[in-house]
């Protein structure tokens, strides 16, 4: 059974077709890439999978469950972690609080425990703090637990987002342009971190990216999107040599 199975998904925004007949199958542990020019509908696909919007047509299954019927928080709790194109951090909260917030669905103590500090609460809080610190180590922000996020440099804020996405215990990680605004050094760092996460946790990854190097380095399979439609699909080499991809990216009449 595939981890994620999207079948013929189409979505309209007030008559405007943002996504048309999009399908993808992701098996456990795979890394997929989604590329395409600005406005091609890539982030919309993430929003449709994670339940921010519900698709006009089509089906989305995750672990065999129909996601269209579920609210976003249940979808996340099933094991879908995501990051955002523009950083969406809680700017008044510390790094550790970010990670612990994303553990919400794994914490089972009740309201009474919360008010009166039962043993169960204290035990769970302690376990989860330890787990959170491990996740932070994994992405290399282990020493920043008590920092408020606005005080961190941009590249590290990106890592906080990835750590937060990992804290929901994801089986699939959706990364929306993780390298946006990064310089080459930070980019190479991030490639290594994502490889490291993938090796250690075996999580499947679907990532949206603009930078070809990043995608071709990491992804086993790549889809190219233009005007909401898949125009090409294949491995790194096939995509790089596909004339349609070159046209969408560089315009007509360019020779490579």
């Amino acid at each position: 059974m595939p981890l994620l199975n999207v079948e013929h998904m189409t979505h309209f925004f007030a008559g405007l077709r943002a996504v048309h007949d999009y399908s993808i199958r992701i098996e456990p542990g795979e890394i997929h890439g989604l590329i395409g020019p600005n406005g091609a509908g890539k982030s919309t696909i993430f929003n449709l999978i994670t339940g921010v919007f519900k698709p006009t047509e089509g089906k989305v299954f995750f672990l065999g469950k129909d996601l269209i019927k579920l609210p976003p928080y249940e979808i996340a709790a099933l094991g879908l972690g995501r990051t955002f194109q523009n950083l969406r951090l809680w700017r008044h909260m510390s790094v550790l609080e970010h990670i612990k917030m994303a553990q919400f669905s794994q914490i089972t103590y009740g309201l009474i425990g919360a008010f009166f500090g039962t043993g169960k609460r204290n035990r769970q809080e302690k376990e989860n703090t330890e787990k959170a610190l491990k996740i932070m180590d994994l992405v290399g922000i282990g020493k920043l637990a008590d920092q408020l996020v606005p005080n961190l440099p941009y590249g590290l804020q990106r890592r906080v987002e990835i750590a937060r996405a990992l804290a929901v215990n994801p089986k699939l990680l959706l990364l929306d342009e993780p390298t946006a605004g990064m310089n080459t050094e930070e980019l190479i760092n991030l490639i290594n971190i994502i490889r490291h996460i993938h090796e250690r946790t075996g999580v499947a990854i679907l990532l949206i990216e603009h930078r070809m190097k990043f995608v071709t380095d990491l992804c086993e399979r790549i889809q190219t999107l233009d005007f909401g439609e898949i125009i090409a699909e294949g491995n790194a080499e096939e995509i790089q040599n596909n004339p349609k991809v070159i046209e969408a990216y560089l315009g007509k009449g360019v020779k490579t």
Partner: protein, 307 residues
């Protein structure tokens, strides 16, 4: 000096009501960016629920010929009133506000005003215009501490108000629900994508705020045992002022502003005739707000809230 200390105690008691009600305003604002204008009337409903619970318990004890100690009746009244009023608050959210979640804020604001009027007039229709007398739950005892007269009622009211405020503060800082409220205060869209159930947290916010309002209602009934359907309006308005003065979205801010307003009102009466009380007290508060336009703990940018 004794006169001064006497008024400190009075100010603490008077501020307790404002503080507990103001927290409800500020919590809902923190999470939803919405002023729940029905909150003063939710306080009124809480006082009435407290009245019926207390009266019922006293009557029950009389019928069954059981001697219930007054502290037990008080505790039970508090807990039952807080619980039932929490349900009232959740119902207000479910019926009044949730359908308008994506509507313009002004629509949600008038919803609050309308719910308030419905609660007042509903009460009037059900129970009539006659005022009700809250049963005396605490046998008054007066202690004379070197010239300062303190009743046991005042001590109980102040201690309960302070400890509830402190408990709520810990709840918001230390637990996953409190953290979820703070996260939602900042970003409504992405917080559910981290596995946080939006509607549960919003319902909980209303429940906690309304529970505290019921506690304030019961305590108010103990101190001023006359209940009327419009008793929530003035307290509601003033607690709303306290919520803003404390900094929108800040629990400790709302509580401290509530106590400060209690002090200001009491001390104005200490010096000026009592008919001038609100005129002078609120001129002072207006002046404070002029110099601290964001309130005590508020931040200038409205999306950056602290719970």
């Amino acid at each position: 000096m004794q006169y001064f200390l006497q008024n400190v105690v009075n100010g603490l008691q008077w501020g307790s009501f404002y503080a507990l009600v103001a927290i409800g305003y500020t919590m809902v604002y923190g999470v939803l960016m919405l002023f729940n204008f029905a909150h003063g009337d939710i306080f009124m409903v809480g006082a009435y629920i407290g009245f019926f619970t207390a009266t019922g318990l006293v009557a029950l004890a009389a019928v069954g010929n059981i001697i219930l100690p007054s502290w037990l009746i008080l505790t039970l009244t508090m807990l039952i009133a807080m619980f039932l009023n929490a349900l009232v608050g959740m119902a207000v959210e479910r019926i009044g506000y949730r359908p308008l979640r994506d509507a313009p804020r002004a629509s949600a604001a008038i919803t609050g005003l309308m719910i308030g009027i419905i609660l007042e007039t509903g009460n009037l229709a059900l129970l009539g215009a006659s005022r009700l007398a809250f049963p005396p739950l605490i046998k008054p005892e007066v202690y004379n501490i070197s010239g300062v007269y303190i009743t046991n009622q005042k001590i109980i009211i102040i201690i309960i108000a302070l400890s509830l405020t402190f408990m709520l503060h810990l709840f918001i800082r230390k637990t996953k629900w409190g953290m979820a409220m703070r996260a939602m205060a900042y970003d409504f869209v992405i917080t559910p994508l981290m596995g946080v159930p939006l509607n549960t947290i919003i319902a909980l916010t209303f429940a906690l705020g309304s529970g505290l309002a019921a506690a304030a209602g019961v305590l108010f009934g103990i101190a001023y045992p006359v209940l009327g359907p419009y008793m929530g309006i003035i307290i509601g308005w003033k607690a709303f002022v306290a919520a803003i003065l404390g900094g929108r979205g800040s629990v400790l801010g709302a509580a401290s502003a509530g106590f400060l307003m209690g002090f200001i009102e009491i001390f104005v009466v200490m010096i000026f005739p009592s008919t001038m009380r609100d005129f002078i007290a609120y001129s002072i508060i207006l002046l404070i707000l002029t110099f601290l336009p964001n309130g005590f703990f508020g931040e200038p940018f409205s999306a950056k809230l602290r719970l």
